[in-house]
Symmetry: C2
Subunit: 423 residues, 2 copies
């Protein structure tokens, strides 16, 4: 089929309108989940969906789904769904999440404008609280949508500011009537910025996302003995800071030993009392391990555990560890991954397969339907930051590939691609 | 000569009275330099000095010196001086500094009570702002006393709370009339708690302090690139946190290579943004290097500099370093060190020579007269903390050895020990 023609200016204007609700330095924006800022973004989306004549539904956790059936030959079939989220981190950019939602609207608008007919309906979703910056866990709306988290538990969640999810949904008027878990779509495809440097580094425009890395987060609390840095001989120290440093250095080594796609990061490290002339008595640190391969991730966790035991003995400190998060890797639908690649090629765009290092709503949707994702480059890999930026040409490429992929999936005969509902 | 008999109860009561002015948890106390708390401590000292009939003088930087000439055969000779400081860190104990001042009073009181005659007068000093917690540099009062820092510079020093030294001295009524630099005493001996674990660890009661370690403090600021911990491959990172960790791990190694009495500590380390899932874009850390041997300390500094260069290249980060403090090692007067040892032995007390890892007023006085220090054990080496503690038996031993050493030095014929004034 001929490629769908999209209106890049409309996409950029809508991203700008959303960002303008609570702008941050440069291109940034703040729409923490279920705040007044988030409500303003949702209201804008509802207006746009209404203008497009979509059938808009809001479910019990506040997910917004707009369904376009006007161009569908079989309007009662499960739709091909796209979308993402409107909430941001506190210091967010204008692309993370919002791009996937605005792109979904644009695809429908472009299809409608072209007079195209599809077999199946097309739907665009904005899931509640993907970032998890105010309420844990992240990806809450999509997780509830697929039945992975009970609605009551989600509604009872208390945020970092003491607010409850259920109360905030009521307050902003987005506790909807549609039941959760929601109906499984025919397929789900999400367009998102990469939030990493790989595509830019390799000069590639389209990422065909093969899945999402598994994540293991641990917090370690090291207890030693605080002492004077001048008067305490090295041999008599129980230096919590040095123990933390030895573990952090060891994390880099174990990542190298496990190899492959293993990554590991010590991003948070705090010493007490944190003074130039005092041996730290206590250190708190986090270790973030990720791998697309579950067996390799377990190997990395095992090596970390051995490292912690060894350092505790060598430095004569106590080390308590607890898991902050653990998700197994997710594999996306092979047919959709291939479809993204071939569509990019058909449009004359460079593409490569890559795994997502960040979590996305798509990984939850993958539990109930064939799912894929399209990445476009992030300048310098920067995200969760007002400096987050994707070039207009890359935005266009991403929305157009999304449009073509949705068109193709919407034409699917039964039983459709992959093993719908079998995950 | 027979040992001087001291009244331990009076020493302990005076330490308790000082601590009670602003008590902290347990035995602790807060008397930050030139605050109202410090004034209250000074007022108490002036009262005690008056009760003892001392000739009290306050100099232009607020140092308080009480001179006892009543028992001296030649009252116009330079006195044997003892003393320390009354100021504490924000979370101080009751022994650091205060012990040396209260012990000096006790020595004079004991000598007076025994009717002993000395050749030379005895003086006890309380130096201003030894800790440096509110105003830098530390050991300010003794440094000004010996002419190592110009009075005007000291008076103009602005503290962490924005206050000026000169203004605060006026405010609390302790900007005195005596000129600085002050007159060189015949000798100076300071009793202090060890603030380290060596004496306790070896079961030794008296430390004959041979000198003070040289100190080199550096602050390093590492600038890399903040990135998503999941989406950024290891090879594309410029991880400021990992660079800091690599340097901190390297500090331990270089300390081991330099060997001997070298110690090294990374006590302060801060990552930005300090989040579990973000590769740090910036890290700030301090490195504290100390050695009793200047050549070895320079070797350690050279190795640190090489390490920083190497890590900056390997991790592709920028590292800026600046010196926060640099003091060469100080050697105390050999005759006084031997005198402390022999006095302890004469009293049936165990003793050992050791270098001070911390700075003390005595190291400044060593510039103008033969100087020594006496250490008593600190439980678990803990100091600058309300848990700071020295056993009553050790307090008694320290004050008694101080009394004997002062008696001996006060009997000195001219020209006195060592090379007075030659340092």
């Amino acid at each position: 089929m001929a490629g769908v023609r999209i209106d890049l200016t409309r996409v950029e204007e809508r991203l700008a309108e959303l960002a303008a609700l609570h702008p941050l330095d440069g291109l940034g924006s703040c729409r923490l989940a279920l705040t007044d800022d988030d409500r303003a973004g949702r209201d804008l989306l509802i207006t746009w969906m209404g203008d497009l004549g979509l059938d808009v539904g809001i479910d019990a956790i506040g997910n917004i789904v707009g369904r376009w059936s006007a161009g569908a030959d079989e309007p009662d079939l499960p739709p091909v769904m796209t979308g993402s989220h409107l909430d941001t981190v506190a210091t967010g950019g204008r692309f993370d999440g919002a791009l996937g939602v605005v792109a979904g609207l644009e695809v429908i608008e472009a299809l409608a404008a072209s007079g195209a007919r599809t077999r199946r309906p097309v739907a665009v979703a904005a899931f509640t609280n993907e970032e998890g910056s105010r309420f844990a866990p992240d990806m809450m709306g999509s997780l509830v949508y697929v039945g992975g988290l009970a609605l009551e538990v989600a509604l009872d969640t208390v945020g970092i500011d003491g607010a409850r999810v259920g109360h905030e949904l009521d307050r902003i008027g987005y506790r909807g009537a549609r039941p959760v878990p929601g109906p499984a779509p025919h397929a789900f495809v999400e367009l998102h910025i990469e939030q990493g440097p790989v595509l830019e580094h390799e000069g590639v425009t389209i990422g065909a996302v093969t899945g999402v890395q598994g994540i293991s987060w641990q917090e370690l609390v090291v207890t030693g003995q605080s002492n004077h840095a001048g008067t305490t001989p090295m041999a008599l120290r129980r230096d919590a800071g040095h123990a933390a440093v030895a573990i952090a250095a060891g994390v880099r080594e174990l990542v190298s030993v496990v190899g492959g796609r293993q990554v590991g990061t010590v991003g948070r490290l705090h010493l007490e009392p944190n003074l130039v002339n005092v041996v730290a008595g206590r250190a708190t640190m986090t270790v973030d391990l990720r791998n697309i391969d579950e067996a390799a991730l377990r190997e990395a966790e095992k090596r970390l555990s051995e490292l912690v035991t060894e350092v505790a003995a060598t430095e004569r400190v106590e080390i308590a560890s607890r898991s902050l998060a653990r998700f197994e890797p997710v594999e996306f639908d092979e047919r959709i991954v291939s479809l993204v690649e071939s569509t990019a090629t058909g449009r004359g765009l460079t593409s490569r397969r890559l795994a997502s290092g960040a979590g996305h709503d798509a990984q939850m949707m993958a539990r109930v339907c064939p799912t894929g994702m399209i990445f476009v480059p992030s300048r310098q890999g920067i995200s969760h930051n007002p400096a987050e930026f994707t070039e207009p040409g890359h935005l266009r490429a991403g929305v157009e590939v999304l449009a073509d992929v949705i068109s193709t999936l919407a034409a699917d005969p039964d039983p459709g691609p992959g093993r719908a509902g079998a995950r």
